[in-house]
């Protein structure tokens, strides 16, 4: 069975402090710590592109796991900030890692819901093509597109990349996935030169869509909250995570919050959480749920089996 064998991350060491933006945006410590929940944003090196961050994440994976690049049969990059419009970033990553010529490489253009989509896509693709080892990257550098004068976005986003080793010796295996899209409201969160977000519209969408989506997925699989060890929600902001948790009526300890030191890392937020849990959490079922640009949402139930 294919699943996630290992996960590594790259979160740049350089951090930008929201405490330095208090006067600029007329905010206080309570807003920083208890509302958006982001104290610092991770900030990539100038000139670093999406593929560069993927390579950093892969270098960290090599420290955690034995990787023979000759065995990699699939390379998928989830990004909405590709190095170039043409070619796809996965091809650039393929070249930089010197992956085999018979390795499939393609991108998926999705934001916050991208990891869950990517996980389903790479596992399905590998399964249908008889592949045994693949790499699922997430990488976005929002520091290149955020409008530094826009309070709605300038306080939130951080740069990061992750890589998940997908193999037939998994630690996490998928149980079920569910997806959704509301393309009519795509303008509420978009980038046309600079990032724009209608905060109220995105909040309303997430608060109403995510809890119902998770409940429906659990119900479809005859599962209840008691069967779920943890809920790994996309780290959009502390406020939205708290809102979803309250609407789901689940215990706070089951819903990790972890973005305070690096920000909203878009499609990397869930694999960053998983990477922290992979060594220490017990076996059990986990819910993943992410929501954002599109408007797009995706949830999954996965199980830690070792």
């Amino acid at each position: 069975m294919l699943g996630i064998e290992n996960i590594s991350t790259y979160i740049p060491e350089t951090k930008k402090s929201n405490y330095d933006l208090k006067e600029k945006f007329d905010i206080d410590d309570d807003f920083i710590e208890n509302k958006i929940g982001v104290k610092f944003h991770a900030l990539k090196d100038a000139g670093f592109k999406s593929s560069d961050m993927c390579i950093k994440a892969f270098e960290n994976l090599q420290k955690n796991a034995e990787i023979n690049v000759e065995e990699i049969e699939c390379c998928l990059v989830v990004t909405q900030n590709p190095d170039f419009n043409i070619p796809h970033t996965a091809a650039i990553v393929h070249g930089k890692l010197d992956l085999p010529v018979n390795c499939a490489a393609f991108d998926i253009s999705l934001g916050c819901s991208g990891y869950v989509y990517g996980l389903s896509s790479i596992i399905s693709f590998m399964k249908s093509n008889g592949m045994k080892k693949g790499l699922l990257f997430t990488s976005d550098q929002y520091s290149d597109i955020v409008d530094e004068t826009d309070k709605n976005t300038a306080l939130l986003f951080g740069d990061a990349a992750t890589v998940s080793l997908i193999s037939d010796a998994p630690c996490f295996v998928p149980i079920d996935f569910s997806f959704g899209t509301n393309g009519k409201d795509y303008k509420e969160l978009m980038c046309n030169d600079k990032l724009y977000m209608n905060g109220r519209a995105v909040f309303s969408f997430t608060a109403t869509t995510a809890p119902k989506h998770i409940k429906d997925l659990l119900e479809k699989n005859d599962l209840t909250d008691e069967d779920i060890q943890k809920y790994y929600l996309h780290q959009g902001s502390k406020y939205i995570i708290d809102t979803i948790r309250k609407r789901l009526k689940v215990d706070e300890a089951k819903v990790p919050f972890d973005m305070a030191e690096y920000g909203n890392t878009v499609s990397s937020s869930i694999p960053i959480l998983l990477a922290k849990e992979i060594a220490k959490s017990p076996k059990g079922k986990i819910v993943l749920s992410a929501f954002g640009v599109g408007l797009s949402w995706a949830s999954a139930i996965i199980e830690k089996i070792k």
Partner: protein, 76 residues
């Protein structure tokens, strides 16, 4: 639609917004009482869900205080 100040205050309290209901004034704008954009979005969503209405972004200028919210909803 007919709503009262008490009903509106109850919706705000139930919304989960981090607002001190004991000190929240009816005739002063929410912003002037330090209700931030996240809590405001949450409160407006609660009105939409409770009263089964849609509040367009263009109408928000009419919904700055509790008294204004009551007037707005009673004219819906």
């Amino acid at each position: 639609m007919q709503v009262t100040v008490e009903e509106i205050r109850n919706v705000i309290e139930e919304s989960g917004a981090m607002v001190d209901m004991d000190t929240l004034q009816n005739d002063t704008t929410l912003t002037e009482q330090d209700v931030d954009s996240l809590d405001t979005a949450n409160i407006y969503l609660s009105f939409e869900e409770t009263f089964k209405i849609k509040i367009p972004d263009g109408d928000l200028d009419q919904l700055k205080s509790i008294d204004e919210i009551v007037t707005y909803l009673n004219n819906k």
